[in-house]
């Protein structure tokens, strides 16, 4: 019986002044305007908000199409946009997903639960 795999972590930014966690591509905190951040690892587990299959891709992603783009609400509260792994079980809105890899805040997710193990 397979174990539930450990989630990859997303590298995000935490505002040193107010603690707000956001994607790393910010120069100031959207909540308090502080410019001081520290990196923070956020577990890549959450709930699928929605998804779509991109069949007509921008040029730089053409070789990868078709691919699924997902919007995930992480358990720690952040909403992120990422990809669904090609070998994932079929997604459903409200279902649980887990990140299997991440580059900064850009993660590849897989539908979690018994079906994918």
């Amino acid at each position: 019986m397979a174990a539930i795999p450990e989630a990859a972590t997303l590298r995000m930014s935490r505002c040193v002044r107010c603690g707000n966690v956001d994607t790393p591509n910010r120069s100031v905190c959207g909540r308090c305007l502080s410019g001081e951040f520290e990196p923070v690892d956020v577990p890549g587990t959450g709930v699928l908000a929605s998804w779509t299959t991109i069949r007509r891709a921008p040029t730089r992603f053409r070789d990868e199409a078709p691919y699924d783009v997902v919007v995930v609400d992480l358990d720690q509260g952040q909403r992120v946009v990422g990809r669904l792994a090609a070998d994932s079980a079929p997604p459903s809105a409200g279902g649980r997903v887990v990140a299997i890899s991440a580059d900064g805040a850009n993660a590849v997710f897989r539908v979690s639960g018994v079906a994918t193990l």
Binding site: T23, N25, A49, S50, W51, T52, T53, I54, R55, R56, A57, P58, T59, F61, E64, A65, Y67, V69, V71, Q78, R79, V80, V81, G82, R83, A93, G94, D103, N106
Partner: protein, 386 residues
């Protein structure tokens, strides 16, 4: 703010204008609007031009000044504005502001875009500039994809079906067939729509607006100039611009646009009317599902019932709230920077009682123009004058 009227309107046909320089489309629409208004050009105190991607697709900027020059306008401030697909609506709002605030007594708003000469990859790359690419670009999301996300949620939350969404496509394509300015009118069956190629699930080809060339223009004047114009004027009751999030993470609900909701609420308050009093609307149906979401966000249709209302014919001409009698972006076409101005052109035709798809007795009309990921929105309310 003083009372402002739309005194003159002009529009090219939307579609392919191969070989016509972009500025000439803008000039043609603007000249038509000036002649329609019958106003002395020396009276025009400002020009605002909406355009999104003439830089990347044509290598042309400063279009506002170029258009004014060819029109022989005085040495007035000429400003190009950009707000992705809402560029035209923003240009109009600035023209309204210039006159309403007393900066000048007359102004002209132009919207113009040419797209069909470019390769699809070039156009896609240019349009994708409307995204917060540092945030959402790396995922490979596209604008059709954004609306694929919205559709999934609408379907799950409200039970919206593919067949109901097809009703929006059939309606707008059929409306377009009767609008001589429309690019892609058609009589389509549900089967034809549902057999078209998948673009971004669940969006299929007929759910998407075409790339277009075209221009539209409006002359706005202070009410005090009414005796100096010969065109049939329409009163501007409200003109509102709002902002929503530039990135997906900033949208708490992917099936509603905050910018639209707040723009509509402010517009109703400014005009002192309720949504029930709107007789006709031209709204931003860049995709079929967008019309459904927009009609709910504007408060014209109860939340979650947009698709059902379309399927029941309640948004057709002659229905409870006619939506996009022009054919909308789906059928009239979407020359991006021109669209917001074109929507106003269509509503003025309705309020003058001379539209090819006339809504009987239309007194109050609405326009809704949405840019990017809902990052920019304009909503206008217009009223027929006795």
């Amino acid at each position: 703010m003083r009372k402002v009227l739309i005194a003159g309107i002009g529009s090219t046909a939307f579609g392919r204008h191969a070989g016509t320089p972009i500025e000439q489309l803008g000039v043609a629409a603007a000249a038509e609007a000036l002649l329609d208004a019958g106003i002395d050009r020396a009276r025009i105190g400002a020009l605002y031009l909406g355009n999104f991607i003439s830089g990347p697709l044509n290598g042309k900027e400063v279009l506002a000044g170029i258009v004014a020059d060819q029109l022989g306008l005085p040495n007035i401030p000429c400003t190009k504005v950009e707000g992705a697909c809402a560029s035209g609506g923003i240009a109009f709002r600035h023209a309204w502001l210039a006159v309403a605030s007393g900066q000048c007594d007359a102004a002209i708003a132009v919207g113009v875009e040419t797209m069909t000469h470019a390769r699809t990859a070039e156009t896609t790359a240019a349009l994708n500039c409307a995204m917060d690419n540092e945030s959402d670009g790396p995922s490979g999301l596209t604008f059709p994809g954004l609306f694929g996300l919205a559709w999934r949620i609408h379907a799950q939350r409200y039970g919206t079906t593919r067949r109901q969404v097809s009703a929006v496509v059939r309606k707008n394509k059929a409306n377009g067939l009767r609008n001589p300015l429309a690019q892609m009118g058609a009589e389509l069956t549900d089967e034809q729509i549902e057999a078209s190629a998948l673009i971004c699930d669940p969006l299929q080809l007929y759910d998407c607006c075409p790339a277009s060339d075209g221009a539209a223009a409006l002359v706005v004047v202070a009410d005090s100039l009414r005796s100096e114009i010969s065109g049939v004027p329409v009163e501007i009751l409200a003109s509102v611009q709002t902002r929503g999030s530039a990135r997906i993470a900033g949208h708490a609900d992917l099936c509603s646009f905050d910018a639209t909701v707040s723009a509509a609420q402010r517009a109703y308050a400014m005009a002192g009317i309720s949504a029930k009093e709107v007789d006709v609307v031209e709204l931003h149906d860049c995709f079929s599902i967008a019309e459904i979401v927009d009609s709910e966000d504007l408060g014209l249709v109860p939340r979650g019932e947009g698709a059902a209302w379309a399927a029941e014919g309640r948004t057709a001409v002659g229905g409870q709230i006619p939506v996009n009698p022009s054919g909308g972006l789906l059928a009239k076409g979407h020359p991006v920077g021109a669209t917001g101005v074109s929507q106003l052109y269509e509503i003025v035709c309705q309020l003058r009682g001379e539209h090819p798809n006339q809504v009987a007795g239309a007194e109050i009309g609405m326009t809704h123009n949405l840019g990017g990921t809902g990052v920019a929105c304009t909503v206008n309310l217009l009223r027929r004058m006795a």
